[in-house]
Symmetry: C2
Subunit: 343 residues, 2 copies
DNA sequence: TGTTAGCACTCAACGTGCTCGAGTGCTAAT
DNA sequence: ATTAGCACTCGAGCACGTTGAGTGCTAACA
C-alpha cells in the first residue's frame, strides 16, 4: 500500500475528526480554515485521497466523507492519545471506590459508566466459566424433591440454581452431598463441572450417583446459559445519533440489543486486550464495535464494549474502555487476593 | 353525564376500533361503509360526539380521532370480550409447562410472552418483600471477613448478598448465626427483617449482636433495592408504532424504560386485579398503561403490565395480561403448595 | 514543480405556488 | 329523522425556480 504523505495524513485526520463531531460531509473551504493551505490545494489532495479509497463523496457537489478504510487508518495510525478529563476520572473513581457487591451490579454499573461517558450503547459480557474457580458449593433444601444449589466462585460471584431431584432426599443426605461436591470441585475451574465425573466412593449407594449426576448436569447447563447473559446500558442514547434518525434502522438496532446471544458473541469476538472493529469488520452494516477485556489476575473473564455507528469517537471510546476494563480487572483481582489472604 | 344513544355508542366504538388499527383519522365516508347509515347522518352524530368530548379533529378537513375520554368509555363500557386464539393459548401453555426455574427467568419469560403477543413493551415488577415469606437463611463463608447470605423464600426465590462483617468470624460462628437467623425469621414475612430485632439470648456475647444487626441491615437494604428491579421486554417493538416515528419522542420513552425506579412505580401504581390507565391518568403524555397483578395464594406479589401509546389494542392487551397474570399466580402458588406438602 | 486564484458546473435543499382529494358543515328535499 | 347536494377547508404531493456549498479544471504564479 502506498504511503501517505504527512500532509495527506493531516488532512485525513482533520476530515475524520470534523466529520465525527458534525456528521456532515466536510468541504475544502472548511478545511482551509484549519489547515494553512488554500482550498484548491486541499481539493487536489482530497481528490488523491479519494482515489486511494480513504474518502467518499455522497454526490458530486457535496464534501467528502471518510471511508471505512479511513477510520481503520485513523485508529491504527492517527488516533491521538486522549487523556480523560479530571472530572471523568473522578467519576470513574467514585464507582471504583464503591463497596464490592454483586457481580451483576458491578457489571451493570461499569456499563452505565461507559455509556454515560461515551454517549454510546455499552455492552458487557459476564465472566466466562472457564476463567472462574469454584470457591464452595452448598445445597439447601427447598422441599422434599427440590433443592437449591448455591455456587460461590473465587471472583465473588454467586450462582443459584433450583434442582428437582430424582427422588426425595433428607437434609442430611443433602449435607453429605454438599461435602462431596466441595471435596470434588473446590478450587477447580467451574467449567470442570459435568455429570459423569468419576470420584472415589467409599460407601455411596448407586442412586446417590444418580443424584450427583443430576446436580452436575443442571448446574452445567445453568452456568452455560448464564454465560450468554449480557448487560446492556444506555440504549436510549443511540437515538441521539443521526444515523438512527431513520426509525427502521433504529428498530433493527434495538432489536439486536435484545438478542442477547448474538450480542454476546459479537462482543466476545473481539481479540486482544482492546479491539476495534469497524464497519463490515463487525458483520453489521455501518456499525463499529470497540471492546476491552477484563480479567482476574491473568485469567481472562469477559469483555466490556461499546457499539455504535461507524462515525464514532474512537479516541474517547478507547480511553474510557481501557480505563474501565482495567478497573474491572482490579476489582475482580482484589476479590481473588482476599481469598488467598484468607488461607 | 349524558347517556349516549345506542347508535352513538356503535359509531364511537367503530371509530375507536378503526383508529386503533389504522392510526389515521376516520371520516364519515369510511364509517358509512361499515354502518348502514349515510355519511351525512354519521357526520351529524359525530358532531354531537365531538361536542360531548369523545372525538377530536386534528384540523377542519380531517376525520375524527377518539379522545382520551373516548378510550376511557371504550374500556369501561364498549370493550368486546376477546378470546385469545387457539395458537396464542398454545403459546402461553408452552411457557407454563416449562420447568419452574429461577424467579427472574420466570418473570422475564412472562414479559417476553406478553410483549410478543401484544406487540407492545411489557414491564414486570418483582415480588414485593411484604408478600414473601422466609423459607430459610444460610450463611456461607467467603473469606475471613466476608460472608454470603443466601435467603430462600417460599415462592422459590433466592436472594444472595455479600456481607462484610465487623470482625473476622469462624465458619462455626457463621453456622450458629445461621441457626439463629432461621429460628428467628423462618416462616415470617421477609419484610420483618431489620436490625434491632429483639431475640431471647442464652449465651450470646455482645458483639454477636453487632454481627447480627449488620447482617439484618444489609439484607434489608438489599431486599428493598431488589424490589426496584423491573424486567422490561420488547423495547424494540415500540418503534413499530407510528406515535414514535418522531425520534425525540422515541428517545424520551426509551429513556423512561431505562429508569427502573420510576418505571416500577408507574407499574405498581395500578390498583385492582387489572388496571387500565389512559393518557394523562398515567402521568405521562399520550401513553397508556395496562397492568394485572400476580400473587401467591392470596398474597399480592407484583404486577405485570404493558405500556404503549394511548391508541392501544386494549381488548387484546387486557385478555393477554389477565391470562398471563393468572398463569404467573399459578406458578408461584404451586411453589408454595409444594412447600406445605412437605410439612 | 508545487501552490493558488478564478470560473463554470453540479446538485441537494429549500421555498413557492399549484392541484387534488378527503373530509366537513350547512341547507333543502324527502 | 334522514339523506342528497354543494360550497368550503386544508393537508399532501408535485413541479419549478432559486440558492449556495462544493467540485474539477485551467491558467497564472512563486
Amino acid at each position: 500500500m502506498e504511503e501517505l504523505t504527512e500532509r495527506q495524513k493531516q488532512i485525513l485526520q482533520t476530515i475524520i475528526e470534523d466529520y465525527i463531531v458534525s456528521a456532515i460531509p466536510v468541504g475544502s473551504r472548511t478545511l482551509s480554515k484549519t489547515i494553512a493551505l488554500s482550498s484548491a490545494t486541499i481539493r487536489n489532495e482530497m481528490s488523491d485521497l479519494e482515489e486511494l479509497g480513504y474518502l467518499e463523496q455522497p454526490h458530486t457537489s457535496a464534501g467528502r466523507v471518510p471511508s471505512q478504510k479511513a477510520y481503520r487508518f485513523y485508529v491504527d495510525h492517527l488516533i491521538p492519545m486522549t487523556q480523560l478529563s479530571l472530572s471523568e476520572i473522578r467519576y470513574l473513581r467514585a464507582y471504583y471506590d464503591k463497596r464490592i457487591g454483586q457481580t451483576g451490579e458491578i457489571l451493570s454499573d461499569a456499563a452505565r459508566v461507559v455509556s454515560e461517558l461515551t454517549q454510546y450503547v455499552s455492552v458487557v459480557t459476564p465472566p466466562r466459566v472457564s476463567g472462574v474457580k469454584v470457591s464452595s458449593i452448598q445445597l439447601m433444601p427447598v422441599n422434599r424433591i427440590t433443592a437449591m444449589v448455591v455456587l460461590l466462585t473465587d471472583t465473588g460471584m454467586v450462582q443459584n440454581t433450583p434442582i428437582v431431584l430424582p427422588r426425595s432426599v433428607t437434609p442430611d443426605e443433602l449435607l453429605s452431598m454438599s461435602g462431596l461436591l466441595n471435596r470434588l470441585f473446590a478450587g477447580k475451574n467451574v467449567s470442570e463441572i459435568h455429570p459423569g465425573v468419576q470420584y472415589a466412593v467409599e460407601n455411596e449407594i448407586a442412586d446417590q450417583k444418580q443424584i450427583f449426576d443430576t446436580i452436575c448436569a443442571v448446574l452445567e447447563a445453568r452456568l452455560e446459559s448464564e454465560e450468554n447473559r449480557v448487560v446492556v446500558e444506555g440504549a436510549s442514547k443511540m437515538l441521539a445519533h443521526q444515523e438512527f434518525s431513520d426509525v427502521e434502522k433504529a428498530r433493527a438496532f434495538l432489536q439486536l440489543l435484545e438478542e442477547n446471544d448474538k450480542l454476546g458473541e459479537l462482543v466476545n469476538e473481539g481479540d486482544g486486550r482492546v479491539s476495534v472493529r469497524i464497519g463490515t469488520e463487525t458483520g453489521l452494516n455501518d456499525m463499529s464495535i470497540v471492546t476491552a477485556t477484563y480479567s482476574a489476575g491473568n485469567r481472562h473473564l469477559g469483555r466490556i464494549g461499546v457499539i455504535g455507528p461507524t462515525r464514532m469517537q474512537y479516541d474517547k471510546v478507547l480511553s474510557v474502555l481501557e480505563q474501565v476494563g482495567q478497573t474491572l480487572s482490579e476489582i475482580f483481582s482484589k476479590q481473588e487476593e482476599d481469598d488467598h489472604e484468607e488461607k
